[in-house]
Amino acid sequence: MDLEFSADELAFRVSVRAFLTENLPEDIAGKVRASKELTREDYLRWQAILNAQGWLAATWEQEYGGPGWNAVQRHIFAEECALSGAPRMPPFGLAMLGPVLIKYGTEEQKQTLLPRILEGTDWWCQGFSEPGAGSDLASLKARAERDGDDYIVNGQKTWTTLGQYANKIFCLVRTSATAKPQGGISFLLVDLDTPGVEMRPIRLIDGGHEVNEVFFTDARVPVSNLVGEENQGWAIAKYLLTHERTNIAGVGFSMMDMARYRKLAAGITRDGRPLAEHPVFAARAAEIETDLEALRITNLRMLAAAQGGSAGGMGSSILKLKGTQVRQEIQDLYRSALGPHAAPLASDLSENELSVPVEAARAAPAYFLNRKQSIFGGSNEIQRNIVAKEMFRE
């Protein structure tokens, strides 16, 4: 048994840390630590820095511009990024579509689209969920009908994250009515400026704009925008959704959030003493740190298993379940720590009018927004179904 990284892995971590210290813009890290919304430019600035270093597309093969890392290196990189306050890069082009194109795309799609993802020329968003197809994704209704060299696309997609920053969307569309709903789905790339495509914002619980609805009305899309074979979309989608397994537990983010909590608790008082010494808060923080330490090791165990080629199917679901529980618990602790001062909407107050440290001012909205963690990417109920299916398999 050896819980430590190897000397090579530790050296890699040192190089990642040095890079982040040197290159992560402080204004961007400050926004991340204060749970503020990032602009398109913030993301693109950090993307360009990572791309120049060759570290942007962690999961891509080297011939397409990936860094050629193994699973442990990808894990170390993701964890160090989270701890430093680097933005979580939107996964749609880099972690989702890129690997899909590498596996299923035509040579032309790879040559034209992959460089545009790296350079930030294309910002992709995801068109999977529909109003009637959430957890039951296979019941999706948006359809693409063949008309010469085009598909005519009609339907509605929803929960399109950061679609307002995107110029392109990858969609699951129905191309054939089969007995088994999964059988008639295709994976289609659509330019958002195609006539008949309209995006509308959805306002979320914290009042912010992070997701959108996308409407397709007789939108004409070239058949050459199909990825893989017609009606092969479900297999591609499954590949996409299970591909990015590193960092699904968000251990790095939770560690950063916990450090943020510790700092806050040392600096604010309740009942005339530092909150860190308040018995209720001290006990809760200790329990959460225990859960987090166990999760860190669980994550490493799964990582080692994946490295050895013996990753179980339920592993990533368990990491997602416990990972989101721990993250949400920390968000709750952080919000609770502020007591009455979590109530005023920070946006209404100037910095010197706040009763709390400015980086804590968005604690309540951030807690509310982070309820999404247990809903998106396969809700925690769906993750439990996946684990149960494996545990009770006949």
């Binding site: 009942d271 109530a343 009018e353």
Partner: protein, 356 residues
């Protein structure tokens, strides 16, 4: 043993429920809740005409109610309709003004002609009243206040502020008219204020008001617990409706046992909150009141978070949207725990001798 409401309380409850259902909506609430004055003055006036502010004060002090049960009935209905009107601040301020013999102001509050709020807490004061940093000093025959007050509910637009400050003798209460406050919306809507005092002249209401202040705060806590019970009840109903109506995998979500069980747990928490609220109301005005009020506020804080989070989770993405009314009930339930002491503060109060 009889857990039914009296006939009068039944009428009060039904009247208010009908009025709120006919005249308010979550959409309408949200239109006024996030911009100054963070509520609807017309709606507040209409509620005062119905007599809700009058019901905050006893008959011998110029009102026509004032029992903890009156307060609980009213706030449960306000919570059930997610009403964002500044009833909490008015309630606590009116009680203290009545105690101080200021029927002239109480009369204006009851009529809806003016509003008042209570300034107790400070940047480093969350629930307990000590160590209070705001001080009152005598100066030129009057009094001046220095310090900073936080978390003043309903302060934006209030003509009167009742301010707690340390005097030589203990904690005193002072009156500010047309105060200069820093106004903000709360995360879940409604107005909140901060107050910076720097040798600010104020009128003395009482030199030593610690016990009266604790009583007014405990009544405010009962009001918040009742509001939460109303909001929980509405949110559980909305969740059941949604699960009945939403279909995935070819059947209603309500047919999945794992989801049914979570709703059952929500209902169980709601029943527990109803019971602890009844206990707090029954003990109000007795020496055991602080302990029972803290038990209620602690349980409501814990259950409120659970019901809010479960309802969001059971709704899926819809429960995360601003457009869906249930979202705002969930936010209210979470934020109630931040007002007048949270579950940790009240746990400490239950455990300590002072609340025994």
């Amino acid at each position: 043993m009889d857990f039914n409401l009296s006939e009068d309380h039944e009428i009060l409850s039904n009247t208010l429920r009908r009025f709120l259902s006919d005249n308010t909506s979550v959409e309408g609430r949200n239109e006024s809740a996030f911009d100054a004055p963070y509520h609807s003055p017309d709606l507040w006036m209409a509620l005062c005409e119905l007599g809700i502010a009058g019901a905050f004060v006893s008959e011998d002090q110029g009102g026509f109610g004032g029992s903890a049960q009156d307060i609980a009935v009213i706030f449960e209905e306000l919570g059930g309709a997610l009403c964002v009107e500044p009833a909490l601040g008015t309630l606590m301020a009116a009680r203290l003004l009545a105690e101080a013999g200021r029927e002239d102001i109480v009369e204006q509050l009851i009529a809806g002609e003016a509003r008042a709020a209570l300034a107790v807490y400070e940047p480093e004061l969350a629930c307990a009243l000590t160590p209070m940093a705001t001080v009152a000093a005598e100066q030129g025959g009057g009094w001046v206040l220095t310090g900073r007050k936080s978390a003043i509910y309903g302060a934006p637009g209030a003509r009167y502020l009742v301010v707690a400050a340390k005097t030589g003798a203990g904690i005193g209460l002072f009156l500010l008219e047309d105060p200069q406050i820093i106004a903000a919306a709360m995360a879940d809507g409604g107005g909140i204020g901060e107050l910076v005092l720097d040798n600010t002249p104020a009128e003395r209401l009482s030199d030593i008001a610690g016990p009266e202040l604790e009583q007014a705060l405990d009544l405010g806590r009962i009001a918040l617990c009742a509001e939460a019970v109303g909001a929980m009840s509405s949110l559980v109903d909305m969740t059941v409706d949604y699960l009945n109506q939403r279909k995935q995998f070819g059947k209603a979500l309500s047919s999945f046992q794992a989801l049914q069980h979570r709703v059952v747990d929500m209902q169980m928490e709601l029943e527990q909150c109803r019971s602890i609220l009844i206990s707090a109301v029954a003990h109000y005005g007795t020496p055991e009141a602080p302990r029972h009020v803290s038990m209620a506020k602690n349980l409501v804080g814990r259950a409120g978070r659970k019901i809010a989070e479960d309802s969001i989770q059971l709704h899926g993405g819809i429960g995360m949207t601003w457009e869906y009314p249930g979202t705002h009930f969930a936010k209210r339930l979470v934020m109630i725990d931040h007002q007048l002491g949270d579950q940790s503060d009240h746990l400490m109060r239950i455990m300590s001798g002072t609340a025994a």
